[in-house]
């Protein structure tokens, strides 16, 4: 699904924020991405959602070397990736409904299909009553949920969520994690960047840990056990 080989990233003429990143994420896997503030989680994510090209190294997504793809093909790839941005990035003039519907509209889906799917998902994230509100008039947590809904509405093959529970209380946070687990079981590869220890411990998925521009993978002790529980 995702393969990074000797990937490095620097901004402008600064030093490398990421250096020599090497990892492979299997299709259908679920990982947490963690690290101190400023460690480069968001930067690594931006490479994965094709928002940036690495300054060196090789990135392979969906089995394709992204350097060899044309603009058109890159856009099509992006349609298969759902992203929850750390700063939400909602379109301020569109209602909650239209924000969530955006990926489907871009894919050119039929309007009645859009209506059904979006309404259902908005109910699920607890915003069924708010679908005609503008982002500006919603609380931080509500905005975050809309951005999560937008990321998952098109059933992406890859879901990248950057601090998706930062503004949410534990209850709704766990509820959304369950949503992600469910998506994962249906085949979506998931990477979640988070600082939240409680969530990482509760959902014992392997962790990608960023430190000084290097990436390490850490599997919690009870990982296999959880995995088995999840299946049954």
């Amino acid at each position: 699904m995702i393969k990074f080989e000797h990937v490095g990233l620097r901004y402008g003429i600064g030093s490398e924020v990421l250096s020599d990143i090497d990892f492979t994420l299997e299709p259908g896997s679920f990982h947490f991405l963690t690290g101190l503030s400023g460690a480069g989680k968001t930067s690594l994510m931006s490479l994965m959602y094709l928002g940036r090209k690495p300054t060196r190294g090789l990135v392979t997504m969906f089995g394709q070397n992204i350097n060899q793809l044309k603009r058109q093909q890159l856009s099509s790839l992006r349609q298969r990736i759902g992203v929850v941005f750390q700063e939400f990035r909602l379109l301020s003039h569109l209602s909650a409904f239209d924000n969530v519907a955006l990926p489907l509209r871009i894919e050119g889906r039929a309007e009645n299909e859009i209506q059904n799917n979006v309404n259902e998902l908005l109910e699920w994230v607890g915003l069924g009553d708010h679908k005609n509100r503008l982002p500006m008039t919603m609380s931080g947590g509500q905005q975050q949920r809309i951005s999560i809904a937008r990321a998952v509405i098109a059933r992406p093959k890859l879901l990248l969520a950057d601090e998706p529970t930062g503004n949410l209380d534990n209850e709704i946070g766990f509820r959304l994690m369950t949503l992600f687990e469910q998506l994962n079981r249906m085949g979506t590869t998931i990477v979640i960047a988070t600082h939240n220890q409680a969530i990482m411990e509760n959902f014992g998925h392997p962790r990608l840990i960023l430190n000084n521009g290097k990436l390490e993978i850490e599997r919690p002790k009870n990982w296999i056990q959880k995995k088995i529980e999840g299946v049954f």
């Binding site: 090209k53 603009r71 790839l77 003039h93 569109l94 871009i106």
Partner: protein, 320 residues
């Protein structure tokens, strides 16, 4: 015109229900709700207004010059002096004979439109401001005068005319009104030059203003454009929306400006009937003029579309 108005109204309606969930032609960018849309339309309208006024002025000036030229420039007077070169006087009959002979000749020349021999009475009329109404001119040897309308007035034709006349009699003089017409035509030429220059400058200003405003507006949306790009929208999907929006603004603005200018000109014509008659004795908007006027909104839309397209593509180009 009515058809255009209908399109205009339909477009406006579309523009108002943008961002709603229904309808196929929706916008993902906060274009119509933007602060400054109204201002931009007003600006484009005013600019179009100025361009139209300037262009029509230059049309009118052209028509005025033509009128003057055709009224005066092509007029030539043939004079058969009462006095011979050697100082002796011609008799009236001699003058008449020469006059008739010249007129016969003139009628055979292809570049002559009309000829008119001035009778003694005509000449008396011309002289009356100086000599008084009832002065008897029987005692004075009056010259013979023939007033001519040419089709066009070129130096070659005048040259040829001189040759033809000197064949009849070497004394015959040709008066081309050059001295006193020259100043008038110079003035008109200068005015037309000025009007065209101004129209040109205003057009450039308008293009700058439209292109600049559209570009500024688009730049404001670069964040939204980036988001659309990141969630997989193709470049054409993004460009199409912004372009359509820009065209609608430009169309609304320029159409309003054009209509306002036409109404203003009609009002001016109505209110100052006399003055415009002096200015524009026979100015009528012809098909060519109408075409150019209709081309103005089209041009505004084109500029807006290109400015929008260019800006968006430039914004997109820096994204992988």
């Amino acid at each position: 015109m009515i058809k255009e108005l209908l399109v205009f109204i339909r477009l406006s309606k579309k523009d108002k229900r943008l961002g709603s969930a229904q309808g196929k032609r929706h916008y993902d960018l906060p274009l119509n709700k933007n602060i400054g849309t109204g201002f931009l339309i007003v600006l484009i309208a005013l600019m179009t207004f100025l361009v139209v006024i300037a262009i029509i002025t230059s049309f009118a000036l052209e028509s005025m010059t033509n009128h003057w030229s055709s009224g005066l420039e092509n007029k030539v007077t043939i004079e058969i002096p009462a006095e011979k070169n050697n100082g002796s006087l011609r008799t009236n009959d001699e003058i008449k004979a020469l006059q008739n002979k010249s007129e016969e000749k003139l009628k055979t020349l292809h570049y002559i439109k009309t000829t008119k021999s001035l009778s003694d009475l005509d000449i008396q009329d011309l002289l009356s401001p100086w000599l008084g109404k009832n002065v008897s001119l029987n005692n004075i040897p009056l010259p013979g005068l023939i007033s001519i309308d040419l089709h066009t007035n070129t130096p070659e034709i005048i040259q040829n005319l001189k040759k033809e006349m000197s064949n009849i009699n070497a004394d015959i003089k040709i008066d081309t009104h050059e001295a006193w017409l020259g100043d008038l035509l110079k003035l008109a030429g200068a005015l037309q030059f000025a009007a065209i220059t101004i129209a040109l400058i205003i057009t450039i200003t308008t293009v700058t203003a439209i292109a600049g405003s559209i570009r500024t507006r688009m730049a404001v949306h670069s964040e939204e454009v980036e988001l659309l790009h990141l969630i997989g929208a193709h470049d054409s999907y993004i460009t199409r929306q912004l372009q359509r929006h820009a065209v609608i603004i430009a169309f609304k603005g320029s159409l309003c400006g054009l209509l306002a200018a036409l109404v203003t000109l009609m009002l001016i014509k109505l209110l100052s009937g006399e003055i415009t008659e002096v200015l524009l004795p026979e100015f009528q908007l012809n098909a060519f003029h109408a075409l150019i006027l209709i081309a103005i909104p089209a041009l505004a839309c084109l500029i807006a579309a290109m400015a929008a397209r260019f800006t968006v593509l430039r914004t997109l180009a820096i994204m992988p």
